[in-house]
C-alpha cells in the first residue's frame, strides 16, 4: 500500500470543525497520525467512512474530512457491519475507546472481530472514562482511585489485545498516541483484509495523566518498548536484550544478548502468523517484560463481507427475481367471472400450481 500515489494531502482530511478535546489530550496526536496516514494510503475521502460510538475518542469522525457517523454508545461495530454489508467498497475506520468498546460495547466488538468484517478498528485506551468525568474503566488498573471508586478499584482490568485475539481477531496491533511509529501500525492495519484491531494507548491529561509514562516516555523508551517486526528477532534495549521461549516451562523470558548474537541467546524471530506466540505477547506483563508494540499478529482469512457477497451470488445463481411469480407462489386457485352480489356465487374455476 505504501507505493500508492497520494491523491490527497494532510490538509484534505481536516474539517472546519473546532476540535473540542482538552488541551494536551493524546487524541490530538492520534488525529494527526491518522490524517498523516490517509494520504499515504491513497485513500479517497469520498470513499472513507469513520464510524464511532460514544466517548471522547468517538468525537473523532467530526474532525476528519470524510463521511462520518457518530453513533450510540458501544454499538459502532454493528453500524459499521451494516454499512460494510450494504456497500463493501467503502473503506471503514472504526473509532472506539476502552469504555465504549470493552464495557458497553464488548459484545459487538467480540462479534465484529469474530465475523472478521473488513475494517480498521482503533481502540483508544486511556484506562478511564473521560467524557463522564473520570470514573474508572474496564481497563483501569487495580486500585485506581476515581469518583466512583474512592478507595481504589477492585476489578481485574480487561486486556484489549488479549480480548481481541480471544474473540478470533486475525490482526492485532498496538501503538501509542505520540509514537512516531503509529502511522506504520495503521498502514499495516489497513493493508490487512479483514477486521484489523489496533489498541492505541492514549494519555488522558485530565483524569489519568501520564499513566503510560512508564513505557511511553521518551527517556529510556528503548529499554521498555519491544517493537515487533515480522521476520526480525524480538530485541529491545538497543539489541542487548531479547525475548526467548523457555522450552521447559513454555513461558517467555527476557535474555541478555551479547555482541548482537541473538541466535545463541535463542531470541524468538517474530512470525506475525504464529497465533500461539501472539497469545503469549498479548499476555506478556509489563514490568518484568517490555511493552510489546507494533503488529503482534497478522494472519488473514476470508472476510465476512466477501463471504456474504459469495453467499448471495451462490443463492441468486440461476434465479430470476420475478416479484409477480413470488407473490403467486405456493398453491393457488382462481376465482373467475364477475360477481353479482344479488345472485350469489360466481362461476368459479380451480387452478392448482
Amino acid at each position: 500500500m505504501n507505493d500508492m500515489t497520494p491523491i490527497t494531502t494532510v490538509k484534505d482530511w481536516e474539517t472546519d470543525q473546532e476540535v473540542r478535546w482538552c488541551p494536551g489530550c493524546g487524541d490530538y496526536a492520534i488525529l494527526k497520525a491518522v490524517q498523516r496516514t490517509l494520504p499515504q494510503l491513497g485513500s479517497d475521502p469520498a470513499n472513507t467512512v469513520f464510524v464511532s460510538g460514544i466517548g471522547c475518542s468517538s468525537r473523532f469522525p467530526y474532525y476528519i474530512e470524510s463521511y462520518g457517523f457518530h453513533t450510540i454508545h458501544g454499538r459502532a461495530p454493528a453500524f459499521a457491519t451494516g454499512i460494510k454489508l450494504a456497500n463493501p467498497d467503502l473503506d471503514i475506520w472504526l473509532v472506539t475507546g476502552d469504555g465504549d468498546g470493552l464495557s458497553i460495547g464488548g459484545n459487538h466488538l467480540m462479534h465484529v472481530l469474530r465475523r472478521n468484517v473488513n475494517m480498521q478498528i482503533m481502540l483508544f485506551n486511556n484506562e478511564i472514562y473521560g467524557l463522564t468525568k473520570g470514573q474508572y474503566s474496564p481497563t483501569s488498573r487495580e486500585g485506581t482511585k476515581s469518583p466512583s471508586t474512592p478507595l481504589g478499584s477492585i476489578d481485574h482490568p480487561a486486556r484489549p489485545c488479549a480480548f481481541a485475539l480471544g474473540a478470533g481477531a486475525r490482526f492485532v496491533a498496538r501503538g501509542f498516541d505520540v509514537s512516531k511509529n503509529l502511522p506504520d501500525v495503521l498502514k499495516a492495519a489497513h493493508a490487512h483484509r479483514g477486521a484489523a484491531f489496533v489498541e492505541i494507548f492514549q494519555n488522558c491529561v485530565v483524569y489519568n495523566k501520564d499513566v503510560f509514562d512508564d513505557f511511553a516516555q521518551p527517556k529510556g523508551a528503548e529499554d521498555r518498548q519491544l517493537w515487533l517486526e515480522d521476520g526480525a528477532p524480538m530485541l529491545f534495549a538497543g539489541g542487548t536484550r531479547g525475548i526467548t521461549l523457555n522450552h521447559e516451562t513454555l513461558r517467555l523470558e527476557v535474555v541478555e544478548v551479547t555482541d548482537g548474537d541473538w541466535q545463541t541467546a535463542k531470541v524468538i524471530v517474530h512470525d506475525v502468523t504464529n497465533r500461539a506466540i501472539a497469545h503469549m505477547l498479548v499476555e506478556m506483563p509489563f514490568g518484568p517484560f517490555p511493552m510489546a508494540l507494533g503488529v503482534l499478529y497478522d494472519d488473514p482469512v476470508p472476510t465476512f463481507d466477501d463471504m456474504a457477497i459469495a453467499d448471495r451470488e451462490h443463492a441468486v445463481a440461476g434465479k430470476e427475481p420475478n416479484l409477480a411469480r413470488l407473490l403467486a407462489s405456493g398453491q393457488t386457485w382462481t376465482v373467475s367471472g364477475t360477481v353479482d352480489e344479488s345472485a350469489g356465487h360466481p362461476a368459479r374455476g380451480m387452478v392448482s400450481k
Binding site: 453513533t71 453500524f79 450494504a86 416479484l323 407473490l327 403467486a328 364477475t338
Partner: protein, 661 residues
C-alpha cells in the same frame, strides 16, 4: 380480507360456516394437519381464518395437558373474519387434547377421538379419573370414538415402517377423514406429500395410504354413526388469483415489494425471537430480490446494522417482538435524530418482560408511539390481518423513505401465525416511488445535509458520493448544516422540525368499515381485533342497533379526519387486547370520551364477547355501558393449560416434524 362482505342470515338450515378444531399431542403433527386442511379449504373456494395454538416447549412431555397442540379453522360460504368462537367439530387425538378442548365444543357438536390413545396411563396424565368416552360424561355431544392408531398402523403395514413411524402417519389418516367430511379432493395433498418426501418414496406412499384410509373410513362409517358429509359452497369472491398467506409471509413479501417500488436493495437485521423470527426465515431464502439478511449478535446490533445499511443507501429493516423492541429503543432515537429511513416490525406478544411469548396481545402501542427518550416522534402503522400486512409493509417502506424516518409496523402473534386467503396483487398496480439520492451540493457551493424538502425530509446522501462528505450523529444538529449545535434556539427549532415532519405525513382519510359516519355508537379498533369487531358490529346492526365500525391503520400520525368522525358519535367504544392504550391516545388527541373494552388473556376477542359489550349501549339498563374488562375464557384457544414459555412457531414445528419424518 379479499372476499366481499355478505350480511347473510344467521339461522339458515345448511351451515354457512363450520369451525373445526384439531387437537393432539405436540408430537402428533396437528399444525401440519391444520395447515394442509387450510389449503384444501382455500382451494375449495371457502373463506377461512385459522388459529394455530401450540405449546411453548419445543418438546413438551408427551400426553400432558400443557403439551396439547391445537389448530382451529373457521371456514364457510360467507365472509370469515375470525377463527370462530366455538368448534362444531373437535378431533381429539388423546385424552389431554379432549380434556383441554371439550368444554369449548358447541352442544350437539361432533367429537372424534382416537381410543387407541385412551390408555390408563394417558388418562392419568390428562387427570381423568375415569374414561370419558365410557362414563357418559360426553352425552352433550355426538361422539365418534374408535382406534385411529390401529387403523393407521393397519393402513401403512405394506410399507414396513416401525410402529413409531407408522403412528406418525396418524395425522394424515385424520386429515383424510376430514377431507372426506367436507368433500375435498385428496390429490393436492398427495402431490404435497410426494414433494415433501422427495427421495423417500416409502414414507410418501405410507402417508398417502394413511390419508386414503382415513378418507375411506368416512365413506364406510357414514352408514352407521354420527358422521356425515357436509358441503359448503364457495364464498362469493372478487375474481382473481388467490393463495393462502400468513402474516409473517406477508411482511416478507410486502417488504420486498416496497423495496422494489423504491428501487432499493433491502437489508434485514434480525435476532431470533418468538414470534418474529419467521420474517427472518422467509427473507433469508429470497436473496435474489436484492435482499441481505443479517442475523446479528443481539437485538441492538440488529437495528444498528439496519441503520448502518440505510446510511449506506439500502432500505434497512429490523423486526422483533416487545422485549427486543425495548432493546432497540436507543437506536430508534438515533435514526430519528439522523433522519435515516428504517422499518421496524413489531410482532407483538403478551408482556411485560418475557410475558407470554407465544400468545397474542396489543400492549406495545404506548411503546410504539411514545416509548423513546426525548421528543422522538415516529410513525406507527398497524396491520389488521395477514393479508393486510402486505400493503401495510409497502406503506411503511414508502413513509420511511419519503420522510426520512424510522417507521414502526405493528403486527402480533396472531397475525404472524394465522393464515387466510389472499387475492394475489399485481405488483405493477402499485405506484413506483424511485428514490433520489443527493449527488451534488444542494445550496450553491455548499452542502446542507439537513436542508428540508416540502415534506420536511432531509436529503439522503450515500457515503461514496464524491464531494458530499459530511458527518452525522446523535448529538443535536444545527438547522440545515447538521453541525453540532447545543444552542437553545436551535434545539427548539429542530425538535419542532422533527415533530412537524411526522405530524405532516400524508395518510389516507379514515373510512368507516361498517355503518355510518355518525350515530349512536362507534366501535373503534386497530390491528388484529378487526375480525371479531367486524362480525360483532354486523350482527348488532342486523338486530337494529345503530353501531358503526371504524378501524384505524395509521396509529401515528392519526388520519386528519378521525377526530371529526369520532365526534359524530354519541359514544365511542375501543376494544383492545391491552388495558386501554389506544383509548388513551384517542382521548388525548381528540378529547373524545372513548371507553375501553379490554382483554389480556392472551386470547383474541370472541365475536360474542364484543356483541354483548355493544348490546349494553342499547339495552334499557342505565349507566352500565363502557369501561369493561373481558374475563379469560377457559374454553377458547390458546389452550389455557399450555402456559409455559419460550416458544416456537407453527413453522418451526413443521420443520421439526419434517426433520423427524
Amino acid at each position: 380480507m379479499a372476499t366481499q362482505q355478505v350480511d347473510a342470515p344467521q339461522d339458515a338450515e345448511t351451515p354457512e360456516a363450520v369451525v373445526v378444531r384439531f387437537a393432539g399431542d405436540s408430537g402428533d403433527g396437528m399444525q401440519l394437519t391444520g395447515g394442509q386442511f387450510t389449503l384444501s379449504t382455500a382451494l375449495a373456494g371457502n373463506d377461512l381464518a385459522t388459529f394455530p395454538d401450540f405449546p411453548a416447549e419445543i418438546r413438551a412431555p408427551q400426553g400432558t395437558l400443557f403439551g396439547v397442540s391445537a389448530f382451529q379453522i373457521n371456514f364457510g360460504s360467507r365472509q370469515i373474519d375470525t377463527a370462530g368462537d366455538a368448534p362444531d367439530v373437535l378431533v381429539a387425538m388423546n385424552p389431554a387434547a379432549l380434556k383441554t378442548n371439550i368444554a369449548a365444543v358447541k352442544p350437539g357438536g361432533l367429537v372424534i377421538a382416537d381410543t387407541g390413545e385412551f390408555t390408563k396411563r394417558n388418562l392419568e396424565k390428562a387427570k381423568y379419573t375415569s374414561n370419558p368416552i365410557e362414563d357418559g360424561s360426553l352425552a352433550k355431544w355426538d361422539v365418534l370414538a374408535f382406534d385411529i392408531s390401529a387403523q393407521t398402523v393397519e393402513a401403512v403395514k405394506p410399507f414396513g415402517l416401525g410402529n413409531k413411524d407408522a403412528l406418525r402417519c396418524k395425522n394424515m389418516w385424520t386429515l383424510g377423514l376430514a377431507l372426506w367430511m367436507f368433500g375435498r379432493p385428496r390429490k393436492p395433498i398427495h402431490d404435497w406429500l410426494r414433494a415433501k418426501f422427495k427421495g423417500k418414496a416409502e414414507l410418501a406412499e405410507a402417508n398417502i395410504a394413511a390419508l386414503d384410509a382415513g378418507h375411506a373410513y368416512g365413506e364406510t362409517a357414514e352408514l352407521s354413526g354420527p358422521l356425515h358429509q357436509c358441503h359448503l359452497d364457495p364464498v362469493p369472491a372478487a375474481p382473481g388469483l388467490y393463495r393462502t398467506i400468513t402474516g409473517a409471509e406477508a411482511v416478507a413479501l410486502g417488504l420486498i415489494a416496497g423495496a422494489r417500488l423504491l428501487r432499493l436493495p433491502l437489508f434485514f437485521g434480525g435476532y431470533p425471537i418468538t414470534p418474529a423470527s419467521a420474517i427472518l426465515h422467509h427473507l433469508a431464502r429470497l436473496k435474489e430480490f436484492s435482499v441481505t439478511t443479517f442475523q446479528a449478535e443481539d437485538e441492538i446490533a440488529a437495528i444498528c446494522a439496519a441503520i448502518g445499511a440505510s446510511y449506506a443507501g439500502s432500505l434497512g429493516v429490523t423486526s422483533s417482538s416487545g422485549p427486543g423492541i425495548a432493546l432497540k429503543g436507543e437506536a430508534m432515537g438515533l435514526a430519528i435524530m439522523t433522519e435515516l429511513p428504517l422499518v421496524i416490525v413489531n410482532s407483538q406478544r403478551g408482556g411485560p418482560s418475557t410475558g407470554l411469548p407465544t400468545k397474542t396481545e396489543q400492549s406495545d402501542l404506548y411503546q410504539a408511539v411514545y416509548g423513546r427518550n426525548g421528543d422522538a416522534p415516529m410513525p406507527v402503522i398497524a396491520a389488521r390481518s395477514p393479508a393486510d400486512v402486505f400493503e401495510c409493509a409497502i406503506e411503511a417502506c414508502r413513509i420511511a423513505v419519503q420522510y426520512m424516518t424510522p417507521v414502526m409496523l405493528l403486527t402480533d402473534g396472531y397475525i404472524a401465525n394465522a393464515a387466510e386467503p389472499w387475492l394475489v396483487p399485481d405488483p405493477e398496480a402499485f405506484e413506483r416511488m424511485p428514490v433520489e439520492f443527493l449527488t451534488e451540493k444542494n445550496a450553491g457551493d455548499q452542502l446542507l445535509p439537513y436542508k428540508r424538502d416540502e415534506r420536511g425530509a432531509r436529503p439522503w446522501i450515500k457515503p461514496g458520493t464524491p464531494g458530499l462528505m459530511h458527518r452525522i450523529g446523535g448529538i443535536e444538529k444545527a438547522v440545515d448544516t447538521g453541525h453540532l449545535d447545543y444552542s437553545p434556539g436551535n434545539h427548539q427549532a429542530m425538535t419542532d422540525a422533527r415533530r412537524d415532519k411526522i405530524a405532516g405525513i400524508r395518510v389516507r382519510d379514515q373510512q368507516v368499515e361498517v355503518g355510518n359516519r355518525s350515530g349512536k355508537l362507534a366501535v373503534v379498533g386497530w390491528g388484529s381485533t378487526y375480525g371479531p369487531i367486524h362480525q360483532a358490529v354486523l350482527r348488532a346492526r342486523r338486530k337494529g342497533m345503530d353501531v358503526s365500525h371504524i378501524h384505524v391503520r395509521h396509529v401515528w400520525p392519526l388520519p386528519a379526519n378521525l377526530g371529526d368522525l369520532l365526534h359524530g358519535f354519541d359514544k365511542v367504544l375501543v376494544p383492545e387486547m391491552n388495558t386501554g392504550q389506544f383509548k388513551t391516545v384517542l382521548r388525548d388527541q381528540f378529547l373524545v370520551d372513548a371507553q375501553p373494552l379490554t382483554k389480556v388473556s392472551g386470547q383474541p376477542f370472541q365475536i360474542a364477547e364484543l356483541e354483548a359489550a355493544i348490546a349494553t349501549y342499547f339495552d334499557e339498563v342505565p349507566g352500565n355501558a363502557g369501561g369493561e374488562e373481558i374475563e379469560p375464557n377457559l374454553q377458547q384457544l390458546p389452550n389455557p393449560e399450555a402456559g409455559h414459555d419460550d416458544g416456537t412457531t407453527p413453522r418451526d414445528l413443521r420443520m421439526m416434524h419434517e426433520r423427524d419424518n
